[in-house]
């Protein structure tokens, strides 16, 4: 049901885009206004969310660590998995952001029939890590590749990505490796949610919706490149027009383009209010981005209430005479 709900939403979006593509008068809306709005919502919403997160206090050191903490000099510290320096944190964050270190440590638990009843066993589970890695890297390379539509002249780096991505030179236009990888990976991530009962149980429409969106975006992109051709030069003129704030709307771009750009716009607009914000959130994770130095530095809660304290020294100052009279011992005469 949750799957169906997301699926129908995406289908409706595709139908809306197809209608927009078939009516020439709406091309201005679908090709120019909606992409601009989506871009504003994406950048603005992203900044809003990150600032909102930044305002929430993180008073204590709460890193989750998987290595030996800095301790006595003869005990070897794990400087990256349990960092006590900014450099360690940067390396740790880089491993998390680029290589998904914490997903690599993913385990699966299973109840097996043992001699004395069921036994709990743990095993390594790398498929999720591998799928995510392929998915995210492909997505990044695809986005960088798309810069060829937005930049004129096309920088060497973008061209280099393009050449490496199409290096197999299968067919014409050449097949991109990332297109293949992203489709396989996103399908895997989708079936994982459907097939594994525990994952299925905790999956929400908000988990399926981005998957379907990305599937459709990759799908329309591939269709547009290999089957229902669009006029690339016109597409680039439109894109450069958007980037120079002098929007032009070439005729005869091809309907598939409008479906593609509409879905991309919706995904970008939806981005800041969705789980996709893990793109910014990963950098804001206090369990990852903090040094584990609570034994070296005293961290004081910034909103601690000022408590009026009455120390013994003050107490004695106040009552010294009376204490002496009563014969009580005092520390200072």
């Amino acid at each position: 049901m949750k799957v169906l709900y997301s699926f129908i939403t995406v289908i409706v979006l595709i139908i809306v885009a197809s209608i927009g593509a078939s009516i020439a008068n709406l091309h201005y809306v679908f090709g120019i206004i909606i992409p601009y709005l989506a871009f504003i919502m994406f950048v603005g919403g992203f900044i809003y969310r990150v600032v909102k997160w930044g305002r929430s206090p993180v008073p204590f050191r709460i890193p989750t660590t998987i290595g030996q903490q800095k301790s006595l000099p003869w005990i070897k510290q794990n400087k990256i998995e349990n960092p006590s320096s900014a450099f360690g944190v940067i390396v740790r964050m880089a491993m998390e952001v680029f290589l998904f270190r914490s997903l690599f440590r993913n385990t699966k638990t299973e109840l097996r029939e043992g001699k004395n009843g069921p036994e709990l066993s743990y095993g390594s589970a790398k498929w999720l890590w591998l799928g995510s890695l392929f998915f995210h890297w492909s997505f990044l390379i695809i986005i960088v590749r798309h810069l060829r539509f937005f930049l004129e002249p096309v920088p060497f780096l973008v061209q280099a990505f393009e050449n490496v991505d199409g290096m197999l030179q299968i067919g014409l236009p050449a097949i991109y490796l990332t297109d293949v990888f992203i489709l396989i990976a996103v399908t895997f991530l989708f079936f994982r949610r459907l097939v594994v009962p525990q994952v299925r149980y905790i999956s929400l429409p908000a988990d399926f919706f981005p998957l379907f969106m990305i599937m459709s975006i990759a799908g329309t992109g591939i269709l547009m490149r290999y089957f229902f051709k669009v006029d690339l030069v016109a597409v680039k003129e439109l894109a450069i027009g958007l980037a120079t704030f002098q929007p032009v709307l070439p005729t005869d771009i091809g309907p598939m383009f409008f479906i593609h750009i509409f879905l991309v716009s919706i995904l970008f607009a939806y981005f800041p209010m969705s789980k996709l914000m893990h793109m910014g959130g990963i950098f804001m994770s206090p369990t990852r981005n903090m040094m584990n130095n609570s034994r070296m530095v005293r961290h004081i809660n910034p909103w601690n209430y000022d408590v009026e304290v009455h120390t013994y020294e003050h107490y004695e100052d106040e009552f010294r005479d009376k204490m002496k009279k009563a014969g009580l011992p005092v520390e200072k005469e």
Binding site: F39, F42, V43, F46, I47, V50, V51, G54, R55, S56, P57, V58, L147, R148, F149, F150, L151, E152, P153, V154, V158, Q159, E162, N163, Q169, G171, L172, P173, A174, K229, V230, D231, L232, V233, K236, E237, A239, I240, G241, L242, A243, T244, F245, Q246, V248, G280, F283, M284, P302
Partner: protein, 158 residues
């Protein structure tokens, strides 16, 4: 904000990354590619049509070229019959580039290339500029693989 400096710096980097196209293209004119459709060879044609319709060629020229390569190199076929029944010789240099070469005779390059020296046939792929291909291909950053077998004319190098 806690750690405000770092967060704001990161957000500026984020915004900068995503607004690269706006800054990169700032002040530039949105001029599409300048496609040379009025070469002397084309002007002489009575029926100004390519091997197939312009719409088809625009979308599918790479598939057609691929098909031609297979026909000529692997199947030994040298005649292509288009959708209207007209026959064309399958040759990049003698059919395509006959019209779609924009260089004039003045910039002809004399090269000791087997293609010219042994046959004696003038070779537009060598002598003429393929600006026609390059104009769109450079614009959309698509590298044609034609010149990995066919001799690349000097003018094709950017």
């Amino acid at each position: 904000m806690y750690k405000g400096g770092k967060i704001i710096a990161s957000l500026i980097i984020f915004a900068a990354l995503f607004t690269i196209p706006f800054f990169y293209n700032m002040g530039k004119v949105n001029a599409g590619p300048d496609v040379a459709l009025e070469t002397p060879a084309i002007q002489q044609l009575s029926d100004k049509q390519c091997v197939e319709s312009p719409e088809f060629m625009r979308a599918n020229h790479m598939k057609l070229l691929n098909q031609w390569r297979e026909e000529a190199v692997r199947n030994g076929q040298t005649v292509y019959t288009n959708s209207q029944g007209t026959e064309f010789q399958i040759s990049l240099q003698d059919t395509c580039l006959k019209c779609h070469a924009t260089g004039s005779a003045s910039n002809a390059v004399v090269l000791s290339n087997p293609a010219t020296t042994t046959t004696g046939v003038s070779n537009p792929a060598i002598n003429e500029s393929p600006e026609f291909c390059a104009s769109c291909h450079d614009y959309s950053a698509v590298e044609p693989k034609c010149w990995s077998c066919h001799f690349e004319p000097k003018e094709a190098a950017k």
